[in-house]
């Protein structure tokens, strides 16, 4: 399923928030064009992993390689310029800017980003709300805006942190369709999810995270056979 080369390789990643040691040697790989999820309970270190990959946690150790290049020493803005875009759980919409300004704010990092028209095609809602203040959108629209604006930059690897959190089922379906579309377009996606039923509709592989470590990897086509194991891992 994943014949592509390794796009993102994380080895022995450790991260600390002040005194507390959150990631205890995360190891995983994401291949080019793949959708991979990090599954796990609250506080397992999924979001922290994304932030550590993105360089947003000052105290981190180990290795994060993107397209063969080591990122662990780089500041966050340089990592973004390599072509990795992060869409945080809280979405990070700027409330003093309108939708259009939010869409055009991120600086282009690589050629080949989507045009605004292509983004409107995926998210028609955004086009209707261009002049609205960013935080006056509905939750689903905000999520679309948060994802839409990183597609314009030309980033090829997307880190999406719980894109479906708190959204209505019909919007969750839309987000799922969008992720499959982005995969078709060749994006590599790392997804953090708590809801593995949703994750199983979009992802190729799942890493199970617990106590800041990867404890298991389940290919999506074997998820049926492993459903009981997963339920124990996730405590559902």
């Amino acid at each position: 399923m994943h014949n592509g080369s390794v796009e993102l390789a994380v080895k022995g990643l450790n991260a600390w928030y002040g005194e507390s040691h959150i990631l205890h040697g995360m190891d995983f790989e994401v291949h080019k064009g793949e959708v991979v999820t990090l599954l796990g309970r609250n506080g397992a270190g999924k979001t922290t992993t994304m932030k550590a990959v993105m360089g947003m946690i000052p105290s981190r150790k180990g290795s994060v390689q993107f397209e063969g290049e080591e990122l662990i020493q780089l500041p966050s803005n340089r990592i973004a310029k390599k072509g990795i875009a992060f869409c945080p759980e809280e979405r990070g919409i700027f409330s003093s800017l309108n939708v259009y300004e939010n869409l055009t704010l991120p600086p282009p990092v690589k050629p080949g980003g989507m045009s605004l028209d292509e983004i409107y095609e995926i998210f028609p809602n955004l086009k209707e709300r261009l002049k609205s203040q960013g935080t006056k959108l509905s939750g689903g629209e905000q999520q679309m805006l948060a994802i839409g604006r990183i597609l314009r930059t030309g980033a090829t690897m997307l880190l999406l942190d719980e894109p479906t959190e708190g959204l209505a089922p019909v919007i969750v379906q839309q987000i799922g369709a969008m992720i499959r579309l982005l995969k078709e377009k060749g994006y590599t996606i790392l997804l953090v999810e708590q809801n593995f039923r949703f994750a199983s509709t979009v992802a190729d592989r799942h890493y199970v995270v617990e106590h800041g470590k990867v404890i298991d990897m389940i290919p999506n086509d074997q998820i049926g056979a492993n459903i009981q194991k997963l339920e124990i891992y996730l405590g559902v």
Binding site: M56, S76, P88, F94, S96, E101, Q133, T153
Partner: protein, 325 residues
């Protein structure tokens, strides 16, 4: 829902046009104002309004509280005073020299201070401003306690006589309008949008790929340069550059003006400067009590209307519009 969307849609465009029409109205009023109000007082208000606008660019749109802006204001006043009085430069070159020096000082200070935020940023700027203050006390060219007095008002561009207060008033008005437009353009440019993004969520702006330090530094230098322009103009207006301009109280006063008028609003600093300068001038009879009155006003503003005069007016207007819609 649809109605709400439509009113929201037209807001930013209206806001921009509204700002410019308010400016045009203010300029029209300012043009006829000297007929009824003493022009030197008006020039003082304009200089301080420009100073407060420059300060507001930093605190209102980048979220950085500088407690050392007097060094740019007063420093530029000394520079322009010196080059005009001793070197015999014309006033426009004097103001330009003051502005450039303030920008350079802003660059040095900014590089040192910009890495810190909040109280640390305020303290670093205050410390550097105090160093500039003591330099001004000691340096021979500043005249110590006397300051630089009797700075001549030579004809501007070698053509127009400025010894007449009315003529000079319009020059100051032009300088003020220029400064206002620079700031207005900045906050509505893509650069200004990045500044607002940094103010709101700095880690997010970084993780989108911006080197936020560069943006903050540029905003700091711009703010310093405009504060310098205000100080340099003020020196020519009053024909005096003194230690008052460079003291920490001046840095505090500009904070007060901005807060009273409305932090982060386009016109707030102008209103704030107007209120504070008017109080200082017309309540001068109370002597030292002016400071106490200022303090009381500051407390009232912080407790009762934190958005400042213009901020509260805007919020009130917004509520009214929403009720109508």
């Amino acid at each position: 829902m649809n109605n709400a969307a439509i009113t929201l849609t037209s807001q930013p465009a209206i806001a921009k046009n509204r700002d410019l029409s308010i400016l045009a109205m203010l300029v029209c009023i300012a043009i006829v104002a000297p007929l009824v109000i003493y022009p030197v007082f008006l020039m003082k208000v304009l200089c301080f309004a420009l100073f407060a606008l420059a300060f507001n660019l930093l605190i209102g749109y980048v979220g950085l509280l500088s407690f050392g802006h007097a060094m740019f204001f007063g420093g530029a006043a000394y520079i322009s005073g010196h080059v005009v009085k001793v070197w015999g430069w014309s006033p426009e070159l004097g103001i330009l020299a003051g502005t450039v020096c303030a920008a350079l000082l802003g660059l040095v200070t900014g590089v040192l201070a910009i890495r810190r935020q909040g109280i640390y940023f305020a303290m670093v700027t205050l410390a550097l401003a105090q160093m500039v203050f003591f330099f001004c006390v000691q340096a021979p060219f500043t005249g110590g306690e006397d300051g630089i007095q009797a700075i001549p008002r030579r004809p501007i561009l070698g053509l127009f006589d400025l010894s007449n207060d009315y003529a000079f008033y319009y020059v100051v008005l032009a300088i003020f309008t220029f400064g206002f437009l620079v700031i207005w353009r900045t906050i509505h440019s893509p650069f200004g949008q990045v500044l607002k993004a940094i103010r709101e969520n700095e880690p997010r702006a970084i993780s989108l790929g911006y080197r936020v330090e560069q943006y903050k530094l540029l905003a700091f230098v711009l703010s310093a340069a405009l504060a310098g322009m205000a100080g340099a103009t003020k020196a020519i207006v009053f024909q005096l550059a003194s230690l008052t301009d460079v003291s920490w109280q001046m840095s505090g006063e500009v904070v007060l003006m901005t807060l009273v008028g409305g932090m982060g609003t386009v016109f707030g600093p102008i209103v704030g400067a107007g209120v504070i300068i008017t109080m200082q001038n017309y309540l001068a009879g109370f002597g030292e009590w002016v400071l106490v009155i200022q303090g009381v006003i500051f407390v009232v503003v912080v407790l009762a209307f934190r958005k400042g005069i213009v901020g509260e007016l805007q919020a009130w207007w917004q509520r009214r519009q929403n009720q109508k819609g």
